[in-house]
Symmetry: C3
Subunit: 364 residues, 3 copies
């Protein structure tokens, strides 16, 4: 407990934990105050995901490198998964898909581009591990193919697309999870030496004991689940108040809130010329969401949601994911970055964000 308090004192983002009880109080007293609830729950989710990451890493650090790496790789985006599950249970499939697509795009463009820019402003040219960057870009490309195919079939022949969509989605989900598992085997076991060790928090920290880690993880997971429910309920109505489209909310707002916790590490890594760390977080998160979170949601939708969810995304989202994947493939190919590389990647993100912001509400 003392360690937990110490961590809180050290990390200003964790001070936002104060908003967690406030969310529950307001949700009870003023359930119709959607805008307020949206802002409060977004503010409460951020420190919870930070705590989740710290706890995951503490457990990971104690269980040896291989198991630890596995834990990090599977629990790294637990917050995104829980938020999406809350939306899944509410049957808000449009929001689920938008937030999945948005998380892929946000990580592979915004986090990557921002890291390149922040690092490039300080250092003239930065180098990073090409092998690792290429693996992640390859995994992302595979996921993009899996998302493109149902859309392409549905466009070429809408009837056929609708007929095969449920079976195809389950099949694709299984293939993606297999590919993801083999990718972990590859990077943690058979070709481990090719991958720079990418610790998700700053090095040199004294890790927590396993019991504290596990306890925190369990407690925080419950809290994130509860806050997410408030968040999902309020986000759409709050968006209308702010004049935002549902597409923009799912793609940009939910994705930024869900991924906020990893950003400080990615950005400070870039400022310390440890770009491997930043690229690993950015592309690792993106491929994890595409190859693990999204398929798991499809499979869970058979148990959790009102009806099964498929992998058929809004065509505009598919185009954006495809372009984001091409961007990362082109950019990570050289293994070097400059501030202008960051600008290019961020500009692609800005084009997407602007388009989604301008879209009329019914278009998604």
């Amino acid at each position: 407990m003392k360690l937990l308090l110490e961590e809180i004192r050290r990390n200003p983002l964790l001070w936002l934990l104060a908003f967690v009880p406030v969310v529950f109080a307001v949700a009870q007293l003023k359930p119709e105050a959607h805008t307020l609830l949206f802002v409060l729950s977004a503010l409460a989710i951020v420190p919870l995901t930070v705590l989740m990451n710290v706890a995951t890493e503490s457990v990971a650090a104690k269980t040896g490198d291989a198991v630890g790496g596995l834990l990090n790789a599977t629990l790294g985006n637990l917050a995104e998964l829980i938020i999406a599950l809350a939306a899944l249970r509410a049957g808000q499939y449009v929001l689920v898909k938008a937030s999945v697509a948005g998380a892929i795009v946000t990580n592979s463009l915004f986090v990557l581009g921002m890291s390149f820019l922040l690092g490039g402003v300080k250092y003239h040219t930065q180098e990073y591990n090409r092998v690792s960057g290429r693996l992640q870009a390859g995994l992302l490309f595979l996921a993009t193919v899996a998302l493109l195919i149902p859309s392409a079939i549905a466009r070429a022949d809408p009837a056929a697309g609708a007929a095969i969509s449920p079976k195809l989605s389950v099949g694709l989900a299984v293939l993606l999870i297999v590919a993801y598992s083999l990718g972990i085997l590859f990077s943690l076991k058979t070709h481990r030496e090719s991958f720079a060790s990418v610790p998700h928090s700053g090095a040199g920290e004294a890790p927590w004991p396993v019991s504290l880690g596990l306890g925190t993880l369990a407690g925080v997971t419950v809290l994130v689940a509860l806050v997410s429910e408030v968040f999902v309920e309020s986000v759409q109505k709050a968006a209308e108040t702010f004049g935002m489209t549902p597409a923009f909310v799912g793609f940009i707002i939910v994705a930024l809130v869900g991924g906020m916790s990893a950003m400080p590490t990615a950005f400070s890594g870039a400022r310390k010329d440890r770009l491997d760390l930043s690229v690993g977080i950015a592309l690792g998160s993106a491929s994890q969401i595409a190859l693990f979170v999204a398929p798991v949601l499809v499979l869970l939708s058979y148990f959790v949601g009102p009806t099964p969810m498929d992998l058929q995304f809004w065509p505009g989202a598919v185009v954006m994911i495809f372009l984001a994947t091409l961007t990362t493939a082109l950019v990570t190919n050289s293994g070097r970055s400059t501030w202008f590389g960051g600008v290019l990647v961020l500009m692609v993100y800005l084009i997407f964000a602007m388009t989604l912001y301008l879209l009329p509400p019914r278009a998604q």
Copy 2:
């Protein structure tokens, strides 16, 4: 003749030659046994294509490197060409196009991915000739552009697409054959030293005399043509019996049968750490089919088929060829391979195969 028998004794695939007379017997006695005829003719085509390759290489080996390379490059996919011609004569243009698209995808994804996987399981990292890989990837990309354009025009304006399709297809066919010929000039003549010599069969074999080679080539070509006719007639009906869609049959089954002969060499090359050989076969076959077999079929359709055939493919096939080309371009860029690179490429192939398997019969 002794040499021919020796070759047969040494290569177990050639034992399947026993099925050749069986096919003709059954075709005479039980012409309505489609499923049986399909299985038998598929089994008979495989050893014939193997024999065809051995004969081509024997002739090639005797005629000097430049002419030999040319022979290999033009006759290497003779079997695919003959099978497609049989389908062309029967007016089965959907099957022709599906098998052409399938052969491109099968070679560039299945053969390449399997070679990477089989080699990568044995060797930690394998290197191969980047220059050669890039040339083939470049040729494939050009062919993809040629296949994409008529589709894109037809989608943007169906009337215009239909109006220009015949002329455009002939023009594209001529351009592709010119590009293919210049590619041979480049790799066999002006920039020969940049290309690893890629012998299609194992090195160290005593080649046949030219007369035996030419005789075998002539005889086998006739046999393949005859068996192909049985195969093409039976494949669609057999597929219905097995519950397969026409798209799946053309893309996967016909392409696998037609390309089977080159696979053992490609795979054993990978196991012997001679990945240049494997990549050469995989991408060489794919680009040969795209830039030589497909255009030749378009031009021959003016003389052989009931009506001219165009280059306008099913949109789903175009998307798959485009994604396969992007995959090879991304993968061959580094000139190195690991088992996981193979998994990624195979996964793309599996996604395509699964989608085609699930497609309702009328969708293609």
Copy 3:
């Protein structure tokens, strides 16, 4: 003035200046002779753009490297801008967009491919600055994303596409101009040493005094504007006479006329093994038109044209720009070129040109 005459004596292309007064005379006496006016005005534009380039460089050479580079980068495609402005004022938005798309494709495929081919015929393998090639390819990719998105939205939901098109186009135009400006900052200021200095005319020339440069620039700009008006008026009707489609005229003819002036420098650079120069002109012009000329035209259309122009291009043009960008990204990745690389790039261009030539008149 003596210097101006000397320049004219030395450069045979400038002899075509004799056509400038002829154009004005014919336009007065025989305003209905569209075919003659088209040929004459095309012949008159070429030497004027050459003169424009010489004048720009003279001013640039005198104003120091940074300002000079900036001048070159912004005035380099002044002729294309003026021709497009003439079409914009005439409300010919289809022609404006076709010529913008055509100029991107012509520079990134025709000029690049021709340079590779001409250089590769003389030299076995040529190397050029990868960093610079990648920057230009990256800028082109960004512009392609900006052009793809409005098209993709419009296809997924035509009503939504139409609703957001004007605002989105202005937003994208601003983003592209910002990206272009930052790219200049990057290549001329912060990472200057990574870029080979790319003088647009032959080295060793004695530059003109600033006053002559500025005077020529002013005078020629007026002349180009006047001749462009004749050109834009006559080109469509002349095209009908020649049996060309409007798409072909805009994409191929106007783009070739507008870009003619830079081609001799690019091609002779390749023949002198100074491929950096050729690649710089080809990709630099393409990205300049995509990121500067096109957005400026969108913004100016609010003041000059009868109605605002958006960035929503004909889907076929978007596909061509996308494929051209992919081609340059794949080709420039290695930093080396051979004659066959040039053939591949030119073949892509020929495929586009042939398709446009065959398109029925109403398809664009």
